[in-house]
């Protein structure tokens, strides 16, 4: 059991560093086992180093940097152990436009092994979707679903 945990940990740690530097266009990130003596109970700390900055604990990162670091960790766990499907509710909200584009690019790369259902208001994320559902609220306060063409939304967003 201990060996399995350590093996899994190393796999995720390597993947996390790789995914982080792809999403941030540089820099590196790591995972620290806080108590080597007690592998079965130990906590894990995350450190991140955006390009050009010093390695720091995640509390000092900005709102967008923190969200992008969390996305990097999530995507590395999913790459190691794919889930049948993933539901992501506006995880791109804190990102600026160029980070949305990098996030969307990465999502379309890993969707070969995973199905993603992503709720979003951001154009960059809509652009990489294979299909789209539009949800509207009728005058009667009841949700209705429209199947929208991606081209309709894009036209409106521009």
């Amino acid at each position: 059991i201990q060996r399995q945990f350590v093996e899994q940990f190393e796999l995720i740690q390597t993947k996390f560093n790789e995914t982080f530097s792809m999403l941030f266009n540089g820099g590196s990130a790591g995972l620290i086992i806080l108590d080597n003596e007690d592998i079965m109970e130990t906590g894990i700390e995350i450190v991140a180093q955006p390009p050009g900055k010093k390695l720091k604990s995640i509390t000092l990162l900005s709102g967008g940097e923190k969200a992008l670091t969390a996305i990097a960790l999530l995507f590395s766990i999913i790459s190691i152990k794919p889930a049948p499907f993933c539901v992501l509710d506006e995880i791109d909200a804190a990102l600026d436009d160029s980070n949305v584009d990098r996030f969307a690019g990465f999502l379309s790369m890993i969707t070969k092994d995973n199905q993603f259902i992503t709720i979003t208001h951001r154009k960059g994320t809509m652009e990489i979707a294979d299909r789209m559902f539009g949800i509207t609220m009728g005058k009667d306060g009841v949700s209705k679903m429209l199947s929208v063409q991606i081209s309709d939304i894009m036209k409106e967003a521009n």
């Binding site: 906590g43 923190k66 889930a83 499907f85 294979d130 009667d140």
Partner: protein, 165 residues
Amino acid sequence: MYLKKMEIYGFKSFADKTELDFKRGITAIVGPNGSGKSNISDAIKWVLGEQKIKSLRGTKMEDVIFAGTLIRKPLGYAEVTLVIDNSEGMLNLDYSEISVTRRIFRSGESEYLINKNQCRLKDVQELFADTGLGKEGYSIIGQGKIDSIVSSNPQDIRNLFDEAA
């Protein structure tokens, strides 16, 4: 294994029967504020066995049943079904397609069904054990919750790892 279809009736703002057909790849759900997008993600969490009403943004379990609006009357029950493709046999049942349903009545009683046969919550939880879809799973990220993945509490991060092991 992927999510093929979803049917919602009477769950939160979905008073009318709504069907969503999914395919592999990326499906985006878009729409104005308050239109019902997060209610879809709550519905998925709920069918998979979510017991904590607070993580479905309510105070008592009946809060998930359509409560009525200025024009529409409240409904008596809510029902959500997920149809999952199992052609690769990842789930421990001998069907190429598995449907999971959850139903709740105003009395507060919940019913679970797998392939239209009534079962217990435990059966649903066992079906999805180890797939990452479980309660602590990393595969459903609620609105505003992405930051808590890198929460500053080392034990929380550890739990995420154990779920993925």
